[in-house]
Amino acid sequence: MATQRPLSPHLQVYRPQLTSVLSIIHRMTGVWLCAGGVMLAAWVLAIAQGPQAYAAFTAFAGSWFGKLLFISFLFALYYHLCNGIRHLFWDAGRGYSIESVNRSGLAVLAVSVGATAGTCFALAQRLGVLA
């Protein structure tokens, strides 16, 4: 049925809330992680292919653009993991009160940002970038 009426929930008049913003980030990180999956597949394929293909992959991954991609995938992974666990609790019927939803939302943000920063720091240290 092709109707021209506006579709709910009328995004143009809603004030963004923590819950709705975190919800759309969950979707965006999910879509972005599909691209991350392609990158992971490229890594595995390069290793199966041989040293030359692997060198080409690491050259790309080591470039500033590759590092930027990696950090964005890492954040998306942590966020989607944490918020996904939040979703699983909701699926079990827990944590639906407004206070609880806001508290778990802030926790997801804090943990995913903290874990991304911590992992990047530890990986950089392992690579000897920070020395």
Partner: protein
């Protein structure tokens, strides 16, 4: 107006459901539950392999448990991703032709990339 004067409800009652109403939802949850620990493990793999030379990384990945978990991770990842992209397309693409095309492309791409990466892992695990 339909020639059939029975209500849609009376035509459906008693035929039983296809029992597939929540299948997609369940598959998404079950693959998510599998992916949660696998993701933690994958972060650990990153720490073991980053900056290492080719031979070391290949030797690392060809260990039986590492190869098993990596293949499990790849399968769950591309399956979960395909289920998620399907819902995103259903929700935001409203032109029937484009929607159907995208849905088919996503299914093909997920299977193809998933199959390619699993076969690559098998080559690493059992190849010379």
């Amino acid at each position: 107006m339909s020639a059939n004067l029975r209500t849609p409800l009376s035509r459906a009652v008693g035929l039983g459901s296809a029992k597939e109403g929540v299948a997609h939802w369940w598959h998404q949850r079950v693959s998510a539950i599998a992916l949660a620990p696998l993701t933690i493990w994958f972060i650990w793999v990153l720490f073991q392999t980053i900056g290492q030379d080719y031979a070391t990384v290949r030797e690392y990945l060809r260990q039986p448990w590492t190869a098993t978990l990596m293949i499990s991770y790849l399968v769950c990842l591309f399956y979960h991703g395909r289920l998620g992209l399907q819902v995103v397309i259903e929700d935001y693409v409203h032109q029937r032709g484009i929607e159907t095309t995208l849905q088919i492309l996503v299914k093909f791409a997920a299977f193809l990339i998933g199959a390619a990466s699993v076969i690559a892992m098998l080559r690493i695990a059992v190849g010379g």
